[in-house]
């Protein structure tokens, strides 16, 4: 696994001063163990992240340099990540902790092992949502509820849906997936922390008098997938 600079900085608010960050690296005994090249990469990354997106010319995270190529070991990368998380904790009330971020990473790593359709695109979207949430609400300690994320992973692994969904987060950090065709043809799922999901499914019924049916329910993931399959509610190609 390659740990990139964006893994370290990507889920934290970008308002920390570079001087404070280098000071933290020094006091944690890390700075002296970094090569000049690695230090330059870290400095460039901080600088880039503080620029407005228009100046970096892209909505994507601006830096993906691998610190490994600059000779930084995995052990040292973990120390850097911990030091950065500690600095965020001290500087920004309620910033995401190292453990929370690790659990998020582990959950995404596990997700990638299932070979789920669109998995990398989904992970990329979740990472960008986490970043948006962290920057919008730096006081929110858990922008993504990892138990909800686990439920989403279980659902996608069972349902094997080929079509990519729209993805957002509820204000409480619950994962929300939606396959939208029109207001009359929509499948929405909100993944709850207790291992269940809230289903909202609308469909157009073409009868003599056309109507729109709306189904809503809360159920466990396995029965939910069975229900959706039984009722032909999964998006085409599943």
């Amino acid at each position: 696994m390659s740990i990139c600079i964006d893994d370290i900085f990507g889920t934290s608010p970008s308002s920390l001063a570079g001087g404070a960050w280098l000071g933290e690296l020094r006091s944690a005994g890390i700075k002296d163990r970094l090569t000049t090249e690695a230090l330059n990469l870290i400095e460039e990354s901080r600088f880039a992240r503080n620029l407005p997106q228009t100046q970096t010319g892209t909505a994507e995270p601006p830096q993906y340099y691998s610190l490994e190529t600059a000779g930084v070991s995995h052990e040292l990368l973990a120390e850097i990540a911990k030091a950065y998380a500690a600095l965020c904790q001290n500087s920004i009330r309620g910033a995401v902790t190292y453990d929370q971020r690790q659990r998020f990473r582990e959950c995404l790593d596990a997700f990638l092992e299932h070979g789920i359709p669109n998995d990398r695109r989904i992970v990329s979207r979740l990472q960008s949502l986490l970043e948006m949430s962290s920057e919008d609400e730096p006081e929110n300690p858990a922008p993504i509820n990892v138990d909800s994320l686990d439920s989403m992973v279980e659902f996608l692994a069972r349902a094997r849906i080929q079509r990519y969904p729209d993805i957002s987060l509820s204000p409480d950090g619950l994962v929300f997936l939606e396959w939208y065709d029109s207001p009359e043809q929509t499948l929405s799922l909100l993944f709850l922390p207790d291992g269940s999901a809230r289903l909202l499914w609308t469909r157009r019924i073409k009868e003599a008098i056309p109507r729109r049916d709306r189904v809503s329910a809360t159920m466990g993931i396995a029965p939910l997938v069975s229900f959706l399959k039984h009722n032909n509610a999964l998006p085409p190609g599943s």
Partner: protein, 141 residues
């Protein structure tokens, strides 16, 4: 000024980019979800007609100014407009629930709240409000 927004009027909800579809064009229902962890029971909106400008565009410009004073508005965020009468009628007829749009000046004098969402149909209400909001959207900045 009335306590309740008139049925003929509309409310604007600030929808940050994280509550939009991937292409940034469609408001998703999460933009109308309550923050249950914080015990939120009502949703903040702005009364569109509060400033009494002659055109929709001018009223929206005033709302943008109000938003930028009170919230962290980012490029790509949307304003979703919900008609009071349409929203109340749909929630009542499709879900058998009652919601109200109530003035609640706080920070902005146009600030209002959607009351009645804190019930067992809150996700369904949010879906209806998002559907209505997608009929009329504007950039939030």
């Amino acid at each position: 000024l009335p306590t309740l927004l008139p049925d003929s009027d509309s409310a604007a909800r600030h929808c940050p980019k994280k509550h939009l579809s991937d292409d940034g064009q469609r408001i998703m229902a999460t933009a109308f979800h309550l923050r249950q962890q914080r015990g939120e029971k009502e949703l903040s909106v702005l009364w569109v007609e509060y400033f009494g400008r002659p055109t929709r565009g001018e009223n929206i410009d005033y709302l943008r100014n109000e938003l930028s004073r009170t919230l962290n508005v980012r490029s790509g965020d949307l304003l979703g407009i919900v008609g009071v009468e349409d929203a109340r009628h749909r929630v009542s007829s499709e879900l058998g629930k009652g919601i109200e749009f109530r003035r609640s000046p706080r920070g902005s004098t146009a600030h209002s709240r959607i009351v009645g969402m804190d019930c067992d149909a809150q996700y369904e209400i949010a879906a209806i409000l998002a559907e209505q909001a997608n009929l009329e959207t504007y950039p939030a900045s």
